[in-house]
Subunit: 386 residues, 2 copies
Amino acid sequence: MCSLIDFCDIFTHMVNPFKIIRKDKNSGARIGKLVTSHGEVRTPIFMPVGTQATVKTLSPEELINIGAEIILCNAYHLTLRPGTKIIKEAGGLHEFMHWDAPILTDSGGYQIFSLSDLRKITDEGAEFQSHIDGKRIFLTPEESIRIQNDLGADIIMNLDECIQYPCEHDYAEIAMQRTCRWAERCKSAHANRRQLLFPVIQGGMHKDLRERCANELVKEGFPGYAIGGLSVGEERSLMYEIAQHTLRFIPECRVRYLMGVGDPRDLLECIGLGIDMFDCVMPTRNARNGTVFTRRGKLIVKNAKHIRNYGPIEAECGCYACRNYSLAYIRHLFNTREILGLRLTSIHNLYFLTELIKDARKAISENRFLDFKKAFLEQYVWKLVL
Amino acid sequence: MCSLIDFCDIFTHMVNPFKIIRKDKNSGARIGKLVTSHGEVRTPIFMPVGTQATVKTLSPEELINIGAEIILCNAYHLTLRPGTKIIKEAGGLHEFMHWDAPILTDSGGYQIFSLSDLRKITDEGAEFQSHIDGKRIFLTPEESIRIQNDLGADIIMNLDECIQYPCEHDYAEIAMQRTCRWAERCKSAHANRRQLLFPVIQGGMHKDLRERCANELVKEGFPGYAIGGLSVGEERSLMYEIAQHTLRFIPECRVRYLMGVGDPRDLLECIGLGIDMFDCVMPTRNARNGTVFTRRGKLIVKNAKHIRNYGPIEAECGCYACRNYSLAYIRHLFNTREILGLRLTSIHNLYFLTELIKDARKAISENRFLDFKKAFLEQYVWKLVL
């Protein structure tokens, strides 16, 4: 293990904040730790999403109790509201939102493409309209880094060009090349050495582009690498294939982050490929819609059959919601549109993923990750609705 | 003190669950304790309202941390959703909602008159349409008690006839007399000796009717008495006058509950008259609208002037919100419609009232309640908007 890490450090001329602690003998899975300015993060890790400087419905203390070690906030949203100036004056994002553990900020690349109308993209940067008030904004790679420097997250992301799915090779190549050129500019602009800067590998579903993008970015040298542009509507088998292919071109010693993935099955499959970090709004969004994870599959809280279910969502679960409340009560809270219901399902879903990943880490450390994954996937029936 | 209590017990032939601990020498204010099946409640006390078996946005643990000792739930709402059968099967309201401290349930009298259309009231009971689905429901005093027996709160309320404000003497008299007849039926129907049953004194703004109603109900004999039909739009001076007048006819040794009052000024004025218990949705409802209490008056969270206020809502406040979050952040949460904002303001407002009443208790025990009240009211400027 050490030799790999040493090689990696020599290769990129930088201290590697990531240490692999154990590798599974039968898969690409590994456990590690990532050192940040606000403490260590154990990997693999799932990052709850706190788009607007709050993980929806939850307090920081609740997140800590769930076992969350790092959260993701969104530079795009925070730039629009309340504005980076406010957050900087408040003492930075951690102080502003009362979260003293690591934070990763997404650059806003994905949001520019998914939320705003009338975007216009050139090599200089991206011009788009705010999804809040229609105001025109021009965002360059340098400005994106300056914003993220001001926010003060522990890990910040390069501005990248996200493409739609499906996307033909020609445009995917143009966007990939721009993402690489922007990566260089982001790296040059990055001025806060307490923050780790990760680039995003793009290239759509085209393997040659993924390879070229990864190689280019690795040559540039970063403390960690994200894989973007997956989980955008493609078949999951294709997602796994592209993720696996892309991973080949990222040094094994570097931390690898698969963006926007949070389905339990995807987490296990991708941990098996060697992914270390994940984020996704789905677990908390589904929770607010009343859909919760169980080991057997998803459960719809409002289903009439739960009206007299006086047991918890899941008997084996140790989360605050399952320890203290019945499904009948949570169903009542959803029926009456009471906010405590949203809180309880959000806690449950995040706890479910956090525990799943904890169990995965344990399995990796005992070289039984594949058995663990198989057992979970056999029990977890996606189409079953409880 | 003891002699009063003894007299009271002899008078009504029942054990008095309320003990006066200290009386203020210069006003009607007193501190006491009320013994219930789920523990003692110190009085004066403000009861947060958890209409639908949840104090909106908050968890039971948060309420305990705020200092809440008893909450109010609403039998009318719980009958409609999820239905008393569900709550009874779940083990009662405490178990259902994960709240192990005292609960008071309101009968639903007020809601029948404020929420439902097409109500028809006869001596037999009240016929009304559900505000949820329009279903016709016929509620008798006996049924109201049976429902509340099933819910299992520590204190339950007689079904009463609430009148509109203003209301002429003639109809106010009819409604008051019906309330008295219903009180007798409620008392006869009451079958759970672990629950304290309180009647509601009605009579509108008519002093003679208040006197007759109070005398009638006191003759019937109950462990505590509520004053209803105030804080319904009348001038606050008239409210104080009617409350003070009504109190004359309630034995001093009995616990006295003024329904629907929660404004800080009203709390202090009415504590000074000798009221022991209060409830009101206003503190939590205002919180969700972004209006919070401070010692100087109310503060509107979304006001533009708070955009760069990096201090707490109130520097002297020890609540979770004020200890950990800036007004700028809470404002951001309101602007982005984030639920944590509603939680923080709800915590603040309930903590504010709880602390105010704690301070009032201390002042009473030191015979300086009037000075305390004066100092608070001088500083608290209602029309000032911070």
